[in-house]
Amino acid sequence: MARRNGRIASIVTAAVVIVALAIPFFASGYRLYQGSQVLILAIALLGLNLLTGFNGQISLGHGAFFAIGGYGTAILMAKLGVPYWAAIPIASVVCFIAGFLFGFPALRFGGLYLALATFALAVAMPQMLSYKGFDAYTGGPMGLLLTKPHAPFGLPLSGDQWLYLFCLAFAAALYWAAVNLVRGRVGRGLIAIRDHPIAAETMGVNAALYKTTCFGVSALYAGVAGGLSAIVVGFVSPESFGLPLSLAFLVGIVVGGLASLGGMLFGAVFIEFVPNVADQLTVNFGESAKALPGAVYGVLLILVMALMPAGVAGAARALASLAARFFAPARRRTM
């Protein structure tokens, strides 16, 4: 049955890849931009889920690492003239270092205190980004404008199409890396630390190293996402990286499924489109529709934790195994 589930999973993966590759040739303009946004959010959610879902370290401040990636990329491009494809790796290495360093004190925090410290990081980030002393680099409260890149090598693609495929390549590579990370020895170590830290250490898992590195890798994912977002939007400003962004990430991983990687695509679609739908509703219902995303997020956070703690991915998995059992009754009896 496990093999059957595996087969279903690979069919679903293949379908998603085909659809994702087809999108830029059917959608255009704003829809395509939204598609890129979904991929970017999915990358950030993958990173946060590695940390929170698999390693059990609660971060309410991943918007801050997203911001470091975004600003890093923007400063490299706008102030230092680095090309966009080189800016993202550099900025994400900076993010890895920032995350690794933040992970050090985080080792001593444990559970709730880490949530507190990262919450503080998320709230304080916009103010730090608009700090007067860094105006020359960050552009202060006004932010930085970037020029959108064109498709290279004379490829017959529009700028939007190229950027979408650029994001898709990053998303696919980082998804693949995350899957391999989680399946191997390192992933088992991370999960063991989450489930029973003392037992994990007894079994020889270097908890301190694993946790700080996990924080670094997770920040790296957020940094890549931030960098891609800066390029796709063509603009960074302090206010776009505040607490709401960090909390949206949390909503994304909870709805998509804690400790699931495939579910992050759904989580990303969710947090991209709920605010959009609410924006469209303001036309009909006036200002009160602004309250809709928050209400939906809040109610869903509580309901998901109460009814299906593994999120949409967990529900899908349960459905798939139910279907598998339903279609293979004979084999079940022999077992």
Binding site: I58, P105, L116, Q127, K132, S288, G294, A306
Partner: protein
């Protein structure tokens, strides 16, 4: 010198607000071992209730009392309905649930009362006080009210049987149950008290920071810093921490980093305390049992 005194005084006034918010956080932490990320939004919602009551013509103190009562009942109901089912869930689940609550209150306030910034009256007026104008009447009143809240809470836990029962339930639920204390209800009462105290913090803060659905983000952060600084399992440590953070925020903001990055002072305090003295100034050191 005059500016310094002024900063000190207004720091104390906001510090009082942080102190009672920190006290509310400690109340819930002691009862349910949970940091309530929705505390700020609950207080903000209570403040809107008070504003609505006064808007419909109630005098200040009657609206004040009604709001505290409504918040208390609201807190009890939230514990019973939303928090209770997650009592045995991992920490992550309870953090997520409290953030869910924060989202709900924030959007409820926005839906019911709109997102525009509103002014909120002070019962003490805003005349300058003490000749030199170092402190406004509202700031002095806010300090006074926070000290009163601290005194009342102290007396409640120290001198009443109910307070004793609540302390017992928080410290040792199993033994408390054996001597006939209804532990579950004590936890619900803890949430109710926290919500009531938070509503006072909200009403004291609103004349200073103005009323809008996002007014409590910063205040909650400073209250967290105060609670961590004083020790999150010690009510009076947390209250002291709140005052200290209020003063530090103002002085560091004015003289060191500039007022526009004041929030990072809270971040620095939280990280520094957790690195060097995780139990806070007055907290008990905890040793994990294997």
């Amino acid at each position: 010198m005059g500016e310094f005194l002024h900063l000190l005084a207004s720091g104390l006034a906001l510090g009082g607000v942080y102190a009672i918010m920190a006290l509310a956080l400690v109340m819930i932490y002691q009862a349910t071992q949970l940091i309530n990320f929705a505390q700020g939004e609950m207080a903000m919602f209570s403040t809107y209730v008070a504003w609505k009551l006064m808007d419909s013509g109630w005098p200040y103190w009657r609206a004040f009392a009604a709001t505290v009562l409504v918040s208390f009942i609201g807190g009890v109901v939230i514990e019973r309905v939303v928090v209770r089912p997650f009592a045995r869930a991992p920490i992550l689940a309870s953090v997520i649930v409290s953030i869910g609550l924060a989202f709900i209150f924030n959007s409820l306030a926005g839906y019911l009362y709109g997102y525009s910034v509103t002014s909120f009256d002070s019962p003490f007026g805003d005349r300058p006080l003490f000749g030199g104008g170092y402190m406004s009447a509202h700031e002095a009143g806010a300090v006074l009210v926070s000290l009163c809240v601290l005194a009342v809470v102290y007396a409640f836990f120290r001198f009443t049987p109910l307070g004793l029962a609540m302390r017992a339930a928080a410290q040792n639920p199993v033994s408390s149950r054996l001597v006939g204390i209804r532990v579950g209800w004590m936890l619900a009462l803890g949430w109710g008290l926290a919500a009531a105290i938070g509503s006072i913090a909200g009403m004291m803060a609103a004349p200073i920071v103005y009323l809008d659905p996002n007014m409590m983000f910063g205040i909650l952060l400073y209250a967290f810093a105060g609670a961590v600084l004083g020790g999150i399992d010690n009510p009076f440590g947390a209250a002291f921490g709140g005052f200290a953070v209020g003063v530090m925020e103002n002085l560091v903001g004015a003289y060191v980093v500039g007022p526009e990055v004041k929030l990072s002072v809270a971040l620095a305090i939280i990280v520094a305390v957790l690195v060097w003295r995780p139990s806070g100034l007055f907290g008990r050191r905890l040793v994990a049992r294997v």
